[in-house]
C-alpha cells in the first residue's frame, strides 16, 4: 500500500509532469486565466490520462509485445489517446455544455498534450504493472491539475495588479511559471 502512496506523491509532486518534466505546457499557458476553466481542464485531463494509461498498458501487454510490434508503439498509443479524447469531448458536451464552451479548442488539443503520451510511454519504459500504470497516470494527472489550478489562481491575482507595462500578459506569466517550477524543485528533497 505504502508503495502506491509513494508512487502517487512522487508522480504528483516530486516528478511533477508539468513543472519538473515540462510536459503539457500548452494548456498550462492556454487555460489558466480563469480558475473554473483550469479546474475543468485539469479534471478532463485526469480522466483522459487515467483511461489512456490503462488502455495503453493493455495495448502494450496484450497486443504489441505478443506480436512483436513494439516499433508501432507511438502510432498505436496516439490512436488510443485520440479515441479517449474524442470520447471525453462527447461526454463533456453532454454533461456540461458551459465547460465545453469554456475549454473550447483546448479540449481536442488534449490529444496533443505530450503529458498524456509521455506518461503512457514512461509506463512502458519503467515496465509498470497494470495497477502501477493506473496509479502513475492518475498521480501525474493530479499533479497536472494541481499546477494548473495553482497557476490559474496566481494569474487571476496577477490580472488585477499593477504589472509594469513591459511585463503585462504573457511575460509575467512565464516568470511566475518559472518561479513555480523552482518552488516545485523543492519537493526533490522528499525523495
Amino acid at each position: 500500500m505504502s508503495e502506491y502512496l509513494l508512487l502517487i506523491i512522487s508522480t504528483a509532486l516530486v516528478n511533477n509532469v508539468v513543472l519538473i518534466k515540462f510536459l503539457g505546457l500548452c494548456p498550462l499557458m492556454g487555460v489558466s486565466t480563469k480558475m473554473d476553466g483550469a479546474l475543468g481542464m485539469g479534471l478532463a485531463t485526469t480522466f483522459v490520462l487515467t483511461l489512456a494509461a490503462a488502455a495503453s498498458w493493455m495495448l502494450e501487454n496484450w497486443l504489441l509485445t505478443p506480436l512483436g510490434l513494439e516499433y508501432l508503439r507511438i502510432l498505436a498509443f496516439i490512436l488510443v489517446i485520440a479515441t479517449v479524447v474524442q470520447f471525453t469531448e462527447m461526454l463533456i458536451r453532454k454533461l456540461s455544455p458551459a465547460l465545453y464552451q469554456v475549454l473550447g479548442i483546448y479540449l481536442p488539443l488534449i490529444t496533443t498534450n505530450c503529458a498524456v503520451l509521455g506518461v503512457a510511454l514512461l509506463n512502458v519504459q519503467q515496465s509498470h504493472s497494470f495497477l502501477q500504470s493506473l496509479i502513475y497516470g492518475t498521480g501525474s494527472a493530479l499533479g497536472f491539475t494541481l499546477v494548473l489550478v495553482l497557476f490559474a489562481g496566481l494569474r487571476e491575482r496577477l490580472a488585477v495588479l499593477d504589472v509594469p507595462v513591459l511585463y503585462q500578459g504573457a511575460p509575467i506569466a512565464y516568470i511566475v511559471a518559472g518561479l513555480l517550477s523552482v518552488a516545485f524543485m523543492g519537493f526533490a528533497g522528499l525523495a
Binding site: 474524442q86 461526454l91 464552451q101 469554456v102
Partner: protein, 174 residues
Amino acid sequence: MLMAVLPLTLLGAFLGLVLGIASRLLKVERSNVAEEIEQLLPGTQCGQCGNPSCGAAAEAVVAGDLPPTFCPPGGKAVAEAIAGKLGIPLDSSAMCDEGPRIALINESLCIGCTRCYKVCPTDAILGSAKQMHVVFEQACTACGKCEDVCPTECISMVAIKPTLHTWTWSQPTA
C-alpha cells in the same frame, strides 16, 4: 508486413466502432448553451440586435457571430452573464451603454392610432383608439419597436434623468 498492418487496422476499426456507439448514446440535440443563453435574454424578441428573435441571437452569440454585448435592453448585466457563460473576456468599453432610456409619447402629436401598443413586447403602452396613449415607466425596455411603427413620429426614446435615488458614484478617474 501483414502482421503489422492487420492488428492496427483492426484496432482502428474497433476504436472507431466504440466512438460511433458513444456518439449515438451521447447525442446532443441542440446546443444546450444556446438554450441557456436564451434564458438569460429578455425574451421580448425586439430585434434590436439584428436577429429576428432572442433564440436566434443566442445561437449567433454561441457561434461567435455576435459579441456578448449585443443585447441593448439587457445592458451590462446580461452581457456579463453571457460572457461568463461562454468563458470569453468581456470588452465592456465596446458597449455603448447610454444609460437607461424609456419611450416618451409626445402628447400633442399622438393621434391614438393604437399601433404602438400592439407591437409593444412588454405591454408597456396603455391606450385605446383615438385616446392618448401612455407609457408605463416600469415595463418599458426602450426597445424602439413603437418608435418604428408610429405614423406621426410622436414617440421618442429619452434618457431617464438620474434622481437622488437612482444616482450612483462614478468610477474615480485616477
